[in-house]
């Protein structure tokens, strides 16, 4: 088993917290922001983190990351095929 150890990228310090937002909540959030899903920043379904959390095209993913100005910032990404 040399070097075959599974690396969980979510555990890495530089990977911010990702989570799939439930459909009803996602609709609410989109309404609040006043955007269509396509106007959100995108996330490819083939993105390693997206695969890890099981995000499917059409999902909205919430990312909570550190920010030098605000301390912590919540952003949303729309998952697309690819």
């Amino acid at each position: 088993m040399s070097g075959k150890k599974k690396i969980r990228i979510m555990d890495h310090e530089l990977v911010p917290k990702h989570e799939v937002v439930p459909k009803e909540e996602a609709i609410k959030i989109l309404k609040e922001l006043g955007v269509t899903p396509q106007q959100l920043p995108l996330l490819r379904a083939s993105d390693p983190v997206a695969r890890e959390i099981g995000a499917k095209p059409g999902d909205v993913v919430r990312i909570i990351r550190k920010s030098p100005t605000a301390g912590k910032i919540v952003i949303y990404r729309f998952v697309i095929a690819g």
Partner: protein
């Protein structure tokens, strides 16, 4: 007036002109290469055919019947004897030829796959155009690879493109002449084209082969009449004549049944002419030249580049009501003002509508006419007729005829608002609104404190001035663009407009402890700023009533202002970190009274956030900030004038004894370096981590030499009066630094090129004055002389080498950063902070969920810090910490 029906452009579609469309929009066919007949009149059917549009004023257009001003010009067309390739589409044609079958024209992909991809393509097209494009690209690549047609099973051959326009099949077809290519492209089914990203209805690839050439209207290529009476034609016309002539020859030789070789030669010539007609800078094609040898400026050259149609005419425009001249300083005007020469004030004008309230005033302007200031240049009556006052004999009659509703274009007068700009306009403070002050002289005058935002100096800089022409623009300029609204920089929040140079020296000297002012001096100072308030009790009553400079400065501060901060001079021996300060290097203002400390760059300087000036502006507003700067700066200058301030040679001269000491320092350093070199030669020198032995030696030598320079500086400075003029400037931050003083008095130190000691020149040495292999300090650019003592010829050479590098660096940096700036601006220009605090692109795409992630405007912060608790406490309580 009846409103016309409003039409909105919903979308724009680009395509390729089809031969049918070219014929349809054509006013006439071009049939002859003759341009003018023996009478000098344009030949019908030539490239200057009158049906292509009016050229001379007064004529009526043969096509549309309009006069010169209203005729838009009309296209003609030229039927080519043989088709040619459009140079702009060569790449597309090449790809299509390779991707489709040579026999049946089908895309070289099995039918079921085509259907599958087409289905996917149709679904992607509207929502994800980018993805659709990459799908087309993928399909194309796949089709090119296939060497057998899946539809008709014909064997495919490799197709070679011999730049620029020759296609050769390495198979039975051989040279693919444009007519063959046309037939090939014509065969491709519409669906297959659609899959490849072409819209066959608007840009069918067969139209990439030119069979009919549109001939642009004459007004696109006007001829110029020289003084000698000779007509000089436009480059495009020349090229068109070439094309028509070659086309004629080609047609004749085909008709007369000339040998195929000759026909093909002419065909190639026609291809060359049409290629250069479209783009005269195609690689591999010799550019068509004028008789003088200048390459012709053909279609692509008209559009391309900095002076092309896009960058030169559409994005960049020339304007009226603007002026440009040299700038010079004027410390007596307000920072909000600009001094305008009378000559300019009489040329650029402001339109004013006549009303019952201003009619008397405007009559005066009209009476003065265009030559007497303040006058007027034009009168526009309500019908829109312009009366040029230059040609009016009886100004009085015109003045009498003025009635409300007239518009008068009067000269600029004091109090008008104008926009003032210096290139390069790198940030929004590069264009600010100024209030006009008409002054004698021929230069624009501006206050010294507004030099930093414009990055201006007076070594010959020129600036531009624009006069807003309507009330809305003037109001906007006054409320948004006025200089005082830009004192605080949106970059870091601090004042970008503030004290510089003499203002700082003056402030320091006036606020210094030793400054005591008699009643006469106080009166002089306060009169210079038209102070009309009370004068406080003098600080010293006996033996003479004298005031301190701090008392005078306090008169300008608001009554409830509290502030404390270390001064710029607080360093070294004069270091103070709290109010217990013997050296007067800790600034304390309580209840608007300057109690302790001096004003220097840290208190009133430009580009100094969290300074006294910064908080005065933040807490009392821009208008107060402007008022404070106008008054305080005038006061500081008046004081520095009274006291006198200069820099003399004696300020940087040191006695002989000091030179001895410096010599000692140099000797010591040399000895140390000799030691290092000896160790290196003997291999005893240990290398530093990650460095070679040579690098280690260089680093150590540089270290020793820079320490030697600092030490020499210290020794020299010891002999100087620490309160002489040069030191005052360096310490307060007005101008110069400790290093500058060291270089003037003690020594220049090591000169460097690319961060290294100077080592190149002759073989093994920098100059023939040294032995080969000498790596001692002198042989590698160490300068032990000072500017005061003077440099030896060898030292001067090294100094010049180092200085040259600096010049080259700045030249390279400005061009590179300028290009980076341009690209950044082009990519970020449409981003907008919406009312909900999000940053969005022009299409509503979210870029940031909150501006800067915290929603804070840096202009209202100091260095991006939104809340400064310490400052809030100090502001209200009067102390901090």
């Amino acid at each position: 007036m009846v409103m016309k029906e409003e039409k909105v452009i919903g979308a724009i579609k680009f395509g390729i002109l089809s031969p049918d469309l070219i014929r349809k929009m054509s006013a006439t066919a071009i049939v002859t290469s003759e341009v003018y007949d023996e009478n000098g009149l344009p030949v019908e059917g030539g490239v200057m055919d009158p049906r292509l549009g009016v050229i001379e004023p007064g004529q009526r257009c043969a096509t549309c019947g309009n006069t010169l001003a209203r005729c838009p010009g009309h296209f003609g067309h030229l039927e080519l004897a043989r088709p040619v390739i459009h140079i702009g589409f060569v790449k597309h044609i090449y790809d299509l030829l390779r991707a489709t079958c040579r026999k049946c024209g089908h895309l070289k992909i099995p039918k079921d796959e085509i259907d599958k991809y087409l289905n996917l393509y149709e679904r992607l097209k509207d929502k994800w155009p980018q993805l659709a494009r990459s799908l087309s690209e993928f399909v194309k690549r796949k089709a090119i690879k296939n060497m057998e047609c899946p539809h008709c099973h014909a064997k495919q051959y490799k197709i070679r493109l011999e730049k620029p326009t020759t296609f050769i099949e390495e198979g039975p077809l051989g040279r693919l002449w444009p007519n063959k290519i046309f037939n090939w492209l014509d065969q491709i089914p519409s669906d297959h084209l659609r899959l490849l990203g072409y819209d066959p209805n608007f840009s069918h690839p067969k139209w990439m082969i030119i069979r009919v050439l549109p001939v642009p209207p004459i007004c696109v290529r006007p001829s110029i009449l020289l003084e000698t009476g000779i007509r000089s034609e436009d480059d495009l016309t020349h090229k068109l004549v070439d094309i028509v002539r070659t086309n004629e020859k080609l047609r004749e030789s085909i008709a007369s049944g000339a040998p195929e070789v000759i026909v093909e030669d002419l065909w190639e010539l026609l291809q060359y002419h049409i290629t250069t007609y479209i783009d005269n800078e195609v690689p591999g094609v010799p550019p068509a030249r004028r008789r003088s040898g200048m390459p012709l400026r053909t279609l692509a050259q008209r559009l391309k580049g900095k002076e092309g149609r896009f960058r030169g005419n559409l994005s960049g425009k020339r304007v009226d009501f603007s002026a440009r001249t040299v700038i010079s300083p004027d410390p007596y005007i307000s920072i909000n003002e600009v001094g305008v020469p009378i000559e300019i004030a009489k040329t650029v004008t402001v339109p004013v509508r006549v009303t019952p309230w201003n009619i008397d005033e405007i009559r005066k302007y009209v009476l003065n006419g265009p030559n007497k200031y303040p006058g007027a240049n034009y009168v526009i009556d309500p019908t829109g007729r312009r009366i040029d006052l230059r040609f009016i004999r009886d100004l009085k009659a015109v003045a009498e005829s003025l009635k409300p509703g007239y518009v008068v274009e009067r000269h600029l007068i004091d109090g008008d608002i104008v926009l003032f700009n210096r290139q390069p306009s790198l940030h929004r403070m590069s264009i600010m609104g100024h209030i006009v002050r008409v002054l004698p002289g021929r230069t624009f005058r501006l206050h010294l404190a507004v030099c930093p935002p414009y990055n201006a100096d007076f070594d010959g800089d020129e600036m531009n001035l624009h006069v807003p022409q309507n009330i809305e623009a003037r109001a906007e300029a006054k409320t948004l663009l006025l200089v005082q609204e830009h004192i605080l920089s949106p970059r870091y929040g601090g004042p970008i407009i503030g004290g510089i140079q003499d203002y700082i020296s003056g402030a320091y000297l006036l606020s210094s402890k030793v400054t005591l002012l008699t009643q006469d001096q106080v009166s002089d100072l306060l009169a210079s700023i038209s102070y009309d308030g009370e004068i406080p009790e003098p600080a010293v009553l006996s033996p003479k009533r004298v005031w301190t400079g701090k008392q005078i400065i306090s008169l300008l501060l608001p009554e409830n202002f509290n502030f404390s901060k270390e001064a710029k001079i607080s360093s070294g021996a004069l270091k103070c970190t709290d109010e217990e300060c013997f050296w007067d290097s800790y600034l304390v203002v309580k209840k608007g009274k300057l109690l302790l400390g001096v004003l220097d760059k840290a208190a009133i300087g430009a580009q100094q956030p969290e300074s006294m000036l910064h908080f005065l502006i933040r807490e009392y507003g821009n208008a107060f900030g402007k008022e404070f700067m106008d008054r305080a700066f005038k006061l500081f200058l008046r004081f520095i004038e009274m006291r006198g301030f200069t820099m003399a040679l004696t300020d940087i001269m040191i006695p002989e004894q000091a030179y001895e000491e410096i010599k000692e320092v140099v000797e010591e350093a040399k000895k140390e370096i000799d030691e290092l070199i000896k160790m290196y030669r003997e291999g005893k020198l240990e290398s530093m981590p990650g460095r070679t032995l040579e690098e280690t030696l260089e680093i150590k030598i540089l270290d020793v030499l820079s320490k030697a320079r600092d030490k020499a500086g210290e020794r020299a400075v010891k002999y100087l009066d620490p309160f002489n003029n040069v030191f005052i400037m360096a310490k307060t931050g007005a101008r110069g630094s400790a290093l500058n003083i060291t270089q003037m008095t003690a020594m220049l130190g090591q000169q460097s090129v690319r961060g290294q000691r100077i080592s190149r020149g002759y073989r093994g040495r920098t100059l023939p004055h040294f032995k080969r292999g000498d790596i001692g300090p002198e042989a590698r650019g160490f300068v032990a002389s000072s500017f005061v003592k003077g440099l030896s010829p060898i030292e001067m050479f090294f100094h010049a080498a180092g200085g040259r590098e600096g010049l080259v660096d700045t030249a390279v940096r400005t061009s590179q950063s300028g290009y980076m700036q341009r690209r950044l601006i082009n990519s970020l220009i449409d981003l907008v902070v919406e009312y909900d605090g999000t940053v969005r692109s022009a299409y509503g795409e979210l870029v940031q969920f909150k501006y800067g992630e915290d929603g804070v405007d840096p202009k209202n912060t100091s260095f991006g810090k939104a809340v400064n608790v310490e400052r809030i406490i100090e502001k209200h309580v009067g102390w901090k910490k």
